[in-house]
Assembly symmetry: C2
């Protein structure tokens, strides 16, 4: 089956790296995929960094990826606003990388909360009360809410940590306004962006990731083959409880190189 | 009717002061009530300050009130934990005043989030991501959630600002755990605490406050007469929309002195 796959959509956190450390075999697999002519795109729910920051982070692990092969939920959120709400003013509640990515795509950033048409919410690891209050004021003044993703938790340096769902919950509970759009996996906004970069139909692609909820679900919804890696948050026990299994289950992305090179030898 | 009232339950924010400024006539009315032998208790949904801090704040406005006439939602939360869950360990998500009030009542504070039996949530005007994450970890490790109150907004120095509901929303949305107890007005925990300090039955008391949702609703629920003051957040238009009107509507608490002294003259 792997021989029919021409494009790989690869998750980052838990799949290519964990924290600041590359997962063993990730770099070699990526190099190997390129050497045999496979197309690659990296697809992450991270909305609090820019593509430039992500490229630099990968380079520090000796994984060299051009910016246009990286798609973050911040990237897709910025494009969504540019395409569907051209000329809108955005207020960012999130780490500085979100603002960089919005600005890079041409989204206008509001100077005051009261001027915003949209509040964009992502993970904010340097959150303060003042910033929470500014986003609150923007929404009370009529700004609509878009979230880069709505993950509840992510594996931080000190264990599982509060993710975007916390920032969203604060604003929704205090304003009574709901989130109108969630961009991140498993939403089709993400698969469409990935397939568009790959230039391939879904049936010729495979998504590789460590999350049943975002990566595997996205693949199932979009007609893209799925490979779950156990290098991230999911254990075999959790996998056993799932009805709709991924097409492949690997210890890590390193398994892919082994499987493909074995196929090559047989051919 | 005012002649039948022996005890006054007086709200603070919007009723006695706004920000750091006393409302005109508040100090004189409180002095007058004492001079004619009325009993007084101050009842506030503020959970992020201690009674000592509140006493000092009032004193700075030349309003002198003993600590035991001040009941804050932090005070009642601390008593609730001491009475219903003796020996429990609490983790505070809120400004330092909450921790002071918990400790003053004898509630044990957990040294690590993972050790907590309860997470106590209140307004946190100096909130950081790290503190949010610690409360998240406590709840993920099994701590139950109690909130001093669940107000959505309070009148801050820069206009309406995000209140406890924001802090609660962040934890509830990211952990999937609900709040088990909310102490603040209009909950009966607050009226019971106030009546106990006054030593009077509800029918001989009146609650004076600026909030339809917390002060007036508490009075209606508890059989306590109600006076709405328009010195806070409610306008006459909002009042017109309410079915169950307060017993009295005054421009400010200053009206009470005028009404009582007129009665005295007639008598």
């Amino acid at each position: 089956m792997l021989n029919t796959i021409d494009g790989f959509i690869i998750d980052l956190d838990g799949t290519v790296y964990k924290g600041a450390t590359a997962i063993a075999g990730a770099g070699e697999t990526i190099d190997y995929l390129r050497s045999i002519g496979k197309r690659i795109v990296f697809l992450s729910n991270r909305g609090n960094i820019s593509r430039a920051m992500c490229r630099d982070k990968l380079a520090a692990m000796h994984i060299h990826v051009p910016e246009d092969e990286i798609i973050l939920s911040s990237t897709v959120t910025a494009r969504y606003l540019m395409q569907r709400h051209p000329g809108c003013k955005a207020w960012a509640l999130g780490d500085p990388g979100l603002r960089d990515e919005l600005a890079a795509a041409g989204v206008q950033l509001a100077e005051k909360p009261e001027e915003a048409d949209w509040v964009v919410i992502t993970l904010h690891e340097t959150l303060t009360y003042r910033e929470l209050n500014q986003a609150f004021k923007a929404v009370r003044n009529g700004a609509r809410i878009i979230a880069t993703n709505d993950d509840k938790t992510f594996p931080g340096d000190e264990g599982d940590s509060i993710d975007v769902a916390g920032m969203i919950g604060a604003i929704v509970a205090s304003t009574g306004q709901e989130v109108e759009v969630v961009i991140g996996k498993p939403s089709a906004h993400m698969s469409e962006a990935a397939l568009s970069v790959l230039g391939l139909p879904p049936e010729r692609c495979m998504i590789i990731g460590d999350s049943l909820m975002s990566d595997i679900r996205l693949g199932k919804r979009s007609g893209i083959r799925t490979a779950l890696v156990l290098s991230g948050s999911v254990t075999r026990d959790e996998l056993d409880a799932v009805m709709d299994k991924p097409d492949c289950v690997w210890e890590s992305i390193g398994d892919l190189k082994m499987l493909l090179s074995r196929n090559e030898e047989i051919a």
